[in-house]
């Protein structure tokens, strides 16, 4: 065996640059796609478009964060997509009923949000108890709660989106932090400047959607939770080796329940965000595969379904990569159907890289 073979067989012999590249390939790939689409996509390289990508990706980001925690424990949560729908539909139904009963708009909205989040927490609690207490494989437990969530959702909404909601939802959900009207120099926070007519809205420069604040806060909190707290350490420990975690004195049962409840909470929050962005209580359609896209994003970010690996910010890169592809292919005039093919191919690249360079992650 010559020296060459030794070098290629020994992961540590690789240059740091290559290691950095392989470890963060998703990020570099994202940069590459941004460059390519800037040339091919009409209006792709614009503040507005980037704001839109993240704004419309808020729900996907929340779902991917939810999935990150569960996947690090070695589990999987197939219910998140439909918990999102359950939360949106139950929140909007509560708002609809209360609004019809002449409650004040603020009370309707607050109670509605509460109802939506509680309904999602119930799903997470059920899944968590099944997984931790009764040792049901996560795949099955969350498939079961998914079925129940679908059924309950349709019972509430009857298979139609929920309308007749209190006014102002989309105004809140789609607001921007700062509005500037360059022609007149008028500007204001959170709503369009006084004296600017609705017909002039296209002349406004809108900076930072309010959804950024929400997602930014949650990403910081979740990133901190996973990286710097005992909760995060235990999450990795459980995913690394369940037995070792038990022997180390971690209350794995309680911890797993927390993780599934957290996952469902984030999915429920995503449902609320969807409600505020669209102004209707949408149920999740069959074949929407929101959960599978969330899982894909997490894996692209370098997590392993075997557990013990995964980072919040890497999952975020995964989501943004998928969203940029969707947006960029669209603006480049590529038929939307290619998106599925592109995502599939990228996923294969991701896992093959993960397999070929296991020591780098």
């Amino acid at each position: 065996m010559g020296d060459k073979a030794l070098v290629t067989n020994n992961g540590r012999a690789r240059t740091p640059a290559m290691s950095l590249l392989a470890r963060n390939w998703a990020f570099f790939f994202l940069v590459l796609t941004l460059v390519v689409f800037s040339f091919t996509g009409k209006n792709f390289f614009a503040i507005n478009n980037f704001q839109n990508i993240v704004h419309l990706g808020t729900t996907a980001l929340l779902l991917a964060c939810a999935e990150t925690f569960v996947i690090i424990t070695g589990g999987i949560d197939l219910s998140v997509g439909y918990v999102l729908g359950l939360s949106a539909v139950s929140a909007s139904s509560a708002m609809q009923v209360l609004y019809a009963a002449h409650w004040s708009v603020a009370a309707c909205i607050l109670v509605g949000i509460g109802v939506g989040l509680v309904s999602s927490l119930a799903c997470g609690l059920a899944a968590g108890i099944l997984v931790s207490r009764y040792r049901v494989p996560p795949f099955i437990a969350t498939l079961g709660t998914q079925g129940i969530a679908i059924g309950v959702t349709y019972h509430i909404c009857g298979g139609f989106p929920v309308w007749y909601l209190p006014p102002g939802l989309t105004e809140i959900g789609n607001a921007y932090v700062l509005y500037i009207h360059p022609a007149s120099g008028a500007w204001s926070f959170f709503s369009r400047p006084a004296g600017i007519a609705a017909s002039q809205i296209k002349e406004l420069v809108r900076v930072i959607p309010v959804s950024f604040i929400l997602i930014f806060v949650f990403l910081i909190v979740l990133w901190h939770l996973l990286k710097n707290t005992r909760f995060g350490q235990h999450t990795y420990a459980i995913g690394g080796s369940m037995d070792a975690a038990v022997r180390a004195g971690i209350n794995t049962r309680r911890h797993l329940i927390f993780v599934y409840v957290l996952s469902a909470f984030l999915a429920g929050l995503a449902g609320i965000v969807d409600l505020f962005q669209t102004g209707t209580g949408n149920f999740t359609t069959f074949g929407a595969q929101l959960e599978l896209f969330a899982i894909a994003a997490v894996i692209i970010g370098g997590a392993s379904l075997m557990g013990g690996k995964g980072r919040v910010l890497a999952s975020v890169v995964g989501v943004i990569l998928l969203k940029v592809l969707e947006n960029g292919l669209n603006l480049s005039g590529v038929e939307p159907f290619y998106r599925y093919i592109a995502v599939g191919l990228i996923l294969i690249v991701a896992v093959v890289i993960d397999q070929l360079f296991p020591d780098l992650f």
């Binding site: 999987i76 197939l78 099944l130 009764y134 040792r135 049901v136 494989p137 795949f139 099955i140 437990a141 498939l143 079961g144 709660t145 998914q146 079925g147 129940i148 679908i150 059924g151 309950v152 959702t153 349709y154 019972h155 298979g159 069959f286 074949g287 599978l292 899982i295 894909a296 894996i299 392993s304 379904l305 075997m306 038929e335 159907f337 290619y338 998106r339 599925y340 093919i341 592109a342 995502v343 599939g344 191919l345 996923l347 294969i348 896992v351 093959v352 397999q355």
Partner: protein, 350 residues
Amino acid sequence: MTRRAGITSFVGQRWSVLFFLVELVFFSAVARGFFTLNGVQIVLFYSTTLALLATAETLVIVTGGIDLSVGFVMGFASVISAKLSGRFAEMGLAPELALLLAILITLAIGLLPGFVNGLLVARLKVPPFLATFAVQGITYGTSLLITQGSAAINVPNLANVIGNGYFIYLVPGQGVSLFTRPQVAPGTPVIDIIPTMVVVTVLFVAVAAYLLKRTRFGQHTYAIGGNIDAAMRAGINTNRHLVAIYVISSFLATLSGIIYMMEYVTGKSDAGSSFMLDSVVAVVIGGASLFGGTGTVWRTILGVLILSVLEMGLKIMGVQTFDKYIAVGIILIFAVLIDQFFPELVRKED
């Protein structure tokens, strides 16, 4: 063993059979027209596509893997076979030839997703969940491209005749006809027995069951699912075997898509989108473990029948169909809980 433990053990081992019987009795009593020749045949007819997908899933799950692509491979196959048969018929081929050619080509193309799955899982050690999820996206995108997002129609009417035909036509007092509807005077009653597609399905399912239960191929499949390292050391070519398993899975999914095309005379990209999880559910209700090494085709078929009786029974009763999902969710959790509480009871037969 006490008498009581004997009963628990009896129920624990056969809960799915008992559950199926309870379901049958319940719907026979409650749903009008369920327990008739037609009612039963409709349930069987409806089960065909899911039965093939679930059989495919069984083979993969026994190896400890999972195949998320079956649903969209099915849609892909329905689209390709529908498009091809329509195109061939337009080119002036006889409908029999057009259909046959389309089916053969589709079956050949349908091996491809399985081959890719197999290579990814066996050669590149990609987790089956991801490999098949990626392939699912690619097949779905491709079939959407082919149909431009709409359904593929223009299938020759012969597909309808065969797909919705019956195996036996009984004309009381006059005789029997196989496969073709007898020419009788209007008003003469003809009793249809066993949809042709059910016969086709049973044939392929039986072959798969035989393959898994009675052959060396089947033994190796269980060995890989039980412990892949041990299987390798025992001299099984696990790589080749896994590729074969995913190819067979894809083949059965393709067949399911062709049967869908014959039954509904259309090709739809998302024909099997809801069947992907249903097929896994059927396998789990049949008592297989997702960790591999257990599961039989016939028990999976029992799972399929439990699901389709539930769906059809609720439909006939006029219960809103989305209640099905709640019921399936509960059954699924119930199935695994029984597994957890009576582990030594459920696995005995495998």
